[in-house]
């Protein structure tokens, strides 16, 4: 079914704000109307187990309105949130208002709803009409062309044929192609007491993450793609995953020890998003749980590292014109030349930190002195694997995370910095095992990885044989080089995009695991 037109969302936002203006007990109000569709194709091809190829062609559709309201009451200002699905008329507005009123509480940290920033959105008409209008037939084509690109590689590979001895034998190697292609259709309209002119935004996104395996060869490879446009996609992650899997045939074990490593874009992204980013959100700092408590202005990483979030950059897939709080997106520097300079925030958290008596202690500087570095540029209503959801309050969500190095480095330069070591292409289940503040993390290397000999890629590493046991501070401070080439990278069930380079790190601890599996299969 087609997504609702923007004009209908806009009209309701306007009518709803006018209606809320007639309510005597309301001091501030915000209307957020949205329509979202998540189209997902889960892929599963297995050569020696019956499979569907495209396993789950599916969608989740939602639309409705959400209200954030501040009510005057004898006890003081109470704030509430109410939403209503599918009822895009004044009856729906009244229902949502009743819920907001019924649930309103006296939150001493509440300051106000967002005010205009004085900036204007820089992006216009950046969505893809082809994704907005995609048919069921075309949607299935997107999934099948991804599967078929992989099967084309598997059927034409000389390496596979040599390993199998016959075309029939290729099937018996245990070929796997799994993953998904996700397309997001998003439309929003927002208006509030402080920004009464209705603002609208339309965004689209296509994300694919695909894994190829040759199970008997213990080989695993990955392909992925992120874009705002359907025309950019031709199923290439299927081909890339299959090729990458074939390239890692004959993988060998590495022993436990401290290595010089290159973290590939996916590996660095996973560590960044699961281990580091929670500490760079202002709500985590408020709670005292960041690993960077009191560190603003201090060196927290190698001076080679520059990390920022930018939701306004044209052409980047996670860019949006406005946040789900109605303010223009923008750039927030987080770590510049190794120095901690800012945090991601929404409006509520920024205002709370500016008034927190312990704010200076938590940040390490007077919050007012870095008000712009903690501005609410990342208030999005995430959920359902992507989308801008009417029934969610704005939380802090990264957009395009960008990593840059101070010194320009080609991929060969990065490898040369390592000399002898390990290229870690893909990792998995990388969690802060002793909590966010401690910075300790563990995870396993699951594919796309190689030995590095004399500054060059050498033999592949056998997947699932090495566990990382490290600390984020060691990693950040032991950076040897940051590559200049960045790859747009996504992770499971998230619509944020990291523009990640290859990063060389010294003294990275790995432990050999699962030796018994050599005898099991």
């Amino acid at each position: 079914m087609s997504i609702l037109p923007l004009s209908r969302l806009k009209a309701l936002a306007q009518d709803a704000l006018a209606y809320l203006g007639t309510q005597p007990d309301i001091s501030e109000a915000e209307v957020f109307v949205s329509a979202n569709t998540n189209l997902t194709l889960r892929l599963n091809y297995t050569s020696r187990i019956p499979s569907n190829g495209v396993e789950e062609p599916k969608s989740v559709e939602s639309y409705g309105l959400g209200l954030r309201v501040a009510f005057n009451s004898p006890e003081g200002v109470k704030t509430g949130f109410g939403s209503e699905p599918t009822d895009l008329n004044l009856e729906g507005v009244r229902r949502a208002l009743d819920k907001a009123r019924m649930g309103a509480v006296l939150d001493p940290d509440y300051v106000s709803l967002p005010h205009p920033t004085g900036r204007k959105p820089t992006l216009r008409r950046y969505h893809d009409p082809a994704i907005m209008r995609i048919s069921n037939g075309k949607m299935l084509e997107v999934g099948w062309e991804t599967v078929e690109k992989a099967l084309e590689v598997f059927t034409s590979s000389e390496e596979l044929l040599n390993a199998a001895s016959s075309p029939q034998g290729v099937k018996d190697i245990g070929l796997i192609l799994g993953g998904d292609v996700v397309m997001l259709q998003e439309r929003i309209a927002i208006a509030s007491t402080h920004m009464p002119k209705v603002q609208t935004d339309e965004s689209t996104m296509l994300m694919a993450f695909v894994t190829g395996m040759l199970e008997d060869e213990h080989a695993k490879g990955t392909g992925w793609h992120v874009s705002s446009y359907l025309a950019d996609y031709s199923g290439q992650p299927g081909r890339d995953a299959a090729r990458s899997a074939i390239a890692t045939m004959g993988g060998q074990r590495a022993g436990s020890g401290a290595y010089r490593v290159v973290l590939g874009p996916q590996a660095f992204t996973e560590i960044l998003e699961w281990v580091l980013m929670p500490s760079l959100q202002l709500d985590v700092v408020y709670a005292g749980a960041s690993t960077f408590m009191g560190k603003v202005g201090q060196r927290v990483a190698s001076e080679e590292l520059y990390l920022y979030d930018d939701g306004s950059m044209p052409g980047l897939a996670a860019s949006r014109a406005i946040t789900d709080e109605g303010v223009p997106t923008g750039r927030t520097d987080l770590i510049r030349d190794g120095v901690l300079v800012g945090f991601l925030s929404n409006y509520y958290e920024q205002q709370r930190m500016l008034r927190d008596p312990k704010g200076g202690e938590k940040l390490g500087v007077d919050p007012a002195s870095i008000a712009d570095a903690i501005a609410g540029r990342n208030g999005f209503r995430t959920g359902r694997g992507g989308g801008r959801n009417f029934d969610a309050m704005p939380s802090i969500t990264p957009t395009n995370l960008v990593i840059e190095g101070k010194t320009p480095r080609t991929p060969d330069d990065v490898l040369r910095q390592v000399g002898d070591g390990i290229y870690i292409g893909r990792i998995w289940y990388t969690y802060p095992v002793n909590g966010i503040a401690a910075g300790d993390f563990s995870g396993t290397i699951v594919g796309d990885s190689y030995f590095i000999k004399d500054g060059r890629i050498a033999a592949p590493i056998k997947p699932n044989t090495l566990r990382m046991n490290e600390n984020i501070h060691n990693v950040l401070n032991n950076i040897l080089a940051v590559g200049s080439e960045r790859t747009r990278t996504v992770r499971w069930s998230s619509d944020q995009v990291t523009w990640a380079p290859e990063v060389a790190v010294d003294d990275f601890h790995l432990d050999e695991i699962a030796g018994y599996m050599e005898d099991v299969y």
């Binding site: 069921n136 060691n474 099991v520």
Partner: protein
Amino acid sequence: MSGTVDIEFLEKVRSQIGALVTEDARKLPSLRYCDVRMQVKEEKGAAAENGVEKMSAEDYTFDFGVRVIAGAKASAPGYYGRLLGNADVDNIAQVVMEGIKEAHQRAVANARMKVRARGRFGSLGDALYDTQLAPVSIVEDSVPATYEQDPREVSLEETVRMAVDSCRAAQGAGDQVVYSATSASTFLLRELFCSSEGSIIDQTFAQTEGFVIAICNSEYGTMEIYDFTGHQRGWEILTRGYDNGTITLPNFEVFCRNLAADGVEVANAPPLKAPEKECVVVTDPHFNTLLVHEVVGHPSELDRALKYETSYAGRSWFFRDMQDNQMGKQVASPLVTAYSDPTMEGFGSFKYDHDGTPARRAYHIRSGTFEEFLNNRQTAAILGVPPNGSARATEANLIPLIRMTNTVFEAGQQDPQSIIGEVEEGYYVSGHRVPSVAESRENFRITAVKVYEIKNGQLGQLYRDGGITSDSRDYFMSIDAVGSDFKMYPIPNCGKGQPMQAKRMSNGGPTMRGVAKLTGRG
């Protein structure tokens, strides 16, 4: 029929939806199977932070999802899901039929392209099979919820009081608690399942749960500690707690106070410096809750074993292919038995799964030997085994996945105190914290809340930031004692699928003893 959506709405439309699926849907070209799941949830809850109210809400959710298997020369699946609201009440049949048609179009297109791929890729195309479901009995049944205090009768103010008072109880654990937050919620959920084979299953669940987090500071650094409580019951779970012998839940205020007190105690303990060599470890029921979840439950899910989750949640070391797998082989000490049982009381209890399959116990490991995977109708048909009722979705608009239910290590015979008492030198590992598990679950690192030294059968020094790591089979083969103190705990947030579904379930087990390497900082 206009009005606010509540759980009674599904009673009113049950026959109508059943007829749509068994009559109208079956007229669609080449449709072989269809099911519709619809659910309504009435929920209320509140949250508090640092002892003050932060939010409260009372609302409903209403949604549906469709699965169609269709195709002429081949069969393939197609799905559709949508959130619904009051505006859909008067034309619900039309809305659902449009969803069925969308899913049907996708299934037909999927089948057509499957035929094309079969033709293009020779022997590799042969693996693209005709989607089939293992047979189940046709059922018409209604299952009521179990509760004492109806979630609908609880006032929103009461949920705010509960969140605030419990948060203050946590905050009151000491000055070292620098931050605390709680949430308390209760709901009734009604699920309707209608299949083109004729099943109409109407199940209602009551669920009540609480969450608390405390951040504690000490000279050794920040300690964040959090936990969940809850059960498939009414609001009484938070006001009074619950105890049936295996599920022991204090009331929420006490739960929060205890957690924060633990946080302060552990924050003040020195970090564990892990010995280089493996050592004897005694793990308590709460730690084994996460261990059985990650290292037995997940690799026992047949969708992982059949490679559906290769790209994300991972495969299973129990299964390479149809010929080469661990079924019937020893994977653990004979003392180890583990099973899933949705017919037991717990956070993962139900009578029918979201395939309409009756629930039953499935033994994964019996006396050390791997026996049975959790499955759904589709994967059971591939393996040629009967379905065991493990297909569940978090919401009707999402696709059921193979999920743990109440997945546990079975109790043993030994007194847990004697399991510690027999250890000359070792460590007692108590309470689970954060896991990191290898892709096919063949290796794990799981951190604990507390690690105590054991010397001459007595608990000694307490350490923070410790845990254990091991290769899975080696660890399970090393188990030499299993306690009689079986406990189950709620796990409210097990992530799987794309989009991610965070599912509720129970896990548990008794005290156990084995050999593993300890982990500390770094």
